[in-house]
Amino acid sequence: METSFAWLEIFLNASFWVAAVRIATPLIFGTLGEVICERAGVLNLGIEGIMTIGAMVGWMAVYQGAGLWSGVLLAAVCGGVFGLLHAMLTVPLGLSQHVTGIGITLLATSLSSYVYRLILPEVSSPPRIQAFEPLEIPGLSSIPIIGEALFKQTPLTYFAFISVVVVAYVLYRTPVGLAVQMVGENPAAAEAQGLNVTIIRTGAVVCGSAFMAVGGAFLTMSAFNAFFFNMINGRGWICIALVVFASWRPGKALLGALLFAAFDAYQMRLQQLVGAEIPYQIFLMMPYVLSILALIVMSRRVGYPQALMIPYRKGER
């Protein structure tokens, strides 16, 4: 009897919820960033590469002696630069968002590897840094089961939660946010209102890309404390699926990322439980399979931004 309920007991373990929130953090940043880009009408497939460059730059800055928050800031700036490149190619020039995005991912990923190798030519095992420590919020963190998960995390996780609230507020309650939504739904109408579609879309992509890069930086500065090649490992693509799952809403993006991460944390523990009976690769496949399933389930009722992936050229109908 003791083992038969072990798969349920996982949920009662505080460390499971802590892991779920930790796994969710980079996904929250990535999904939020992609929501901002796509709300303005620009699909950003550069996400995988931008997360990689954020992970590398943030880590490298700290490794070279910078402070942790300067590392995060530098990662965000680098992400923004790649976002700007993506925006310049897809917004005023109107190039294919699919191909440009893949190009940005290839460029940012290879540039991360190149710069890493250039600065550290001889290292075989990746060096570690003194990363963010968990920040305990007194009182709240002693709530059973979920207390530690929500109130004993590293500062970047709190930053992710705050970002969701801020982005949701800006998107729905401020003129800037409404302008972003408008250029994503009907750029011609936005132009008629006197809004500059090019500048708003570019700004949204830069800002969204900065969030993605911070998501990448979380991995090297709060989770693994070192940089590995291929460490993003498809997280960016999963974020793209989560955006659809979240119907392009920041709040739902948070929910989707948490659900997804809880599932991921659960399968890791289940894997230890069943041991060698099922090959571990089956478990590792689950996040990708789940993302595809989420896309299929949500496809029936997608309310995607009407002008998504459609370049806007003034005077063209």
Partner: protein, 349 residues
């Protein structure tokens, strides 16, 4: 700023576009090369020599180009119909997987029969990988970019599972690798002592076949029409969905054959590092070729020469070999811009 379509595009510009893009990428990457402390001109010289400087170098370059022709063709075919197949990597491994199952002893026929059977089965495996994404796109509107990308990860994990399980080579000293394919399944080498193999001829053959299909057949015409304007194609009575499915199957099939060519011609067995991103690089190859099936041959050779040359340059000048990936991705972005400048004129007003 506004973009004004050119009414007539001079052919010279079409030819010049990729050359300009490549030149631009060399210039843009010069800073990165210089950062490593190497002399830029010397490093580029070493790159050129390493890629084209000897018979051995040429063999390596064209051996590297072979899978890129297949994956480049796969991307070109799909992109022409605006079907964004980013899953050539997974399709390549699917092809390699089926070849490993059939070619390591299950089938033992005369090579004249064996090789065609393996080509067809690897193509079927690659095509089946794309059947799901194309049906999801047509029936549910699920974006094929995300599904094909995610499938890459799933297939690679499947390969890893099988290489550590049923397909593991008992003689492999514990490494996750499959048994080598039997002699009848091997693609013969073209020259004594060099790695260049007859997979290259197969790749050239498929490029020519597809070029003829695209300019001389109804299917080729329909594929272009669907890519150019789906609505118009539908109004013209074309079976848009069927054309999309056929396009996807051909694209996936060709990528699957790349897996066969790599296992049977180059490596001899299936490992987890069979492809260092050939599927993704294929996208660059296709774009540099402006999606032209014969252009793919030239652009694949160019991209392969960068990779092979950069390896040599990395050994002798100390520039990390990742510079090749950077140069190739920069040339993709430059190519997108230069094609745009060929089609449009920029008016500052």
């Amino acid at each position: 700023m506004r973009l004004e379509p050119r009414t007539k595009v001079p052919f010279v510009l079409v030819i010049l576009a990729p050359i300009a893009a490549i030149a631009a990428s060399f210039v843009l990457c010069a800073g990165l090369v210089a950062w490593s402390g190497a002399s830029v001109l010397e490093a580029y010289g070493l790159l050129l020599k390493g890629a084209l400087g000897s018979g051995f170098a040429l063999s390596e370059t064209f051996a590297r180009a072979t899978p890129l022709i297949f994956t480049g063709l796969a991307a070109a075919i799909a992109f022409k119909s605006r079907f964004w197949n980013i899953g050539a990597e997974g399709q390549l491994y699917a092809g390699a997987l089926i070849i490993t199952v059939l070619g390591t002893g299950m089938l033992d026929l005369h090579p004249g029969l064996m090789i065609p059977i393996l080509v067809v089965t690897s193509a079927v495996a690659g095509a089946l990988m794309l059947l799901g994404p194309v049906l999801l796109k047509i029936h549910f509107g699920v974006d094929e970019v995300v599904t094909t990308l995610l499938l890459n990860f799933i297939v690679l994990l499947l390969v890893s599972l099988l290489l550590e399980g049923p397909l593991k080579d008992p003689m492999g000293l514990g490494w996750p690798q499959a048994e080598p394919v039997i002699e009848a399944a091997e693609l013969p080498r073209l020259f004594q002592g060099l790695r260049l193999h007859s997979g290259l001829l197969l790749a050239l053959l498929f490029s020519v076949i597809f070029w003829i299909v695209s300019i001389r057949t109804t299917l080729g015409y329909e594929m272009r029409a669907v890519g150019f304007n789906q609505k118009a194609a539908r109004f013209a009575g074309m079976p848009v969905k069927r054309v999309m499915i056929i396009t996807a199957l051909i694209s996936g099939g060709i990528a699957g054959i790349a897996g066969f060519s790599e296992v049977a011609g180059m490596k001899g067995n299936l490992t987890l590092d069979l492809s260092p991103g050939f599927g993704y690089t294929g996208i660059v190859v296709a774009m540099l070729a402006q999606l032209h099936p014969l252009g793919v041959i030239i652009s694949a050779s160019f991209v392969a020469s960068i990779f092979v040359g950069a390896d040599a340059m990395s050994r002798s000048a100390g520039v990390p070999s990742y510079i090749a990936d950077v140069m190739v991705s920069v040339s993709l972005l430059c190519m997108l811009v230069s094609v745009l400048l060929v089609r449009f004129r920029i008016r500052w007003s």
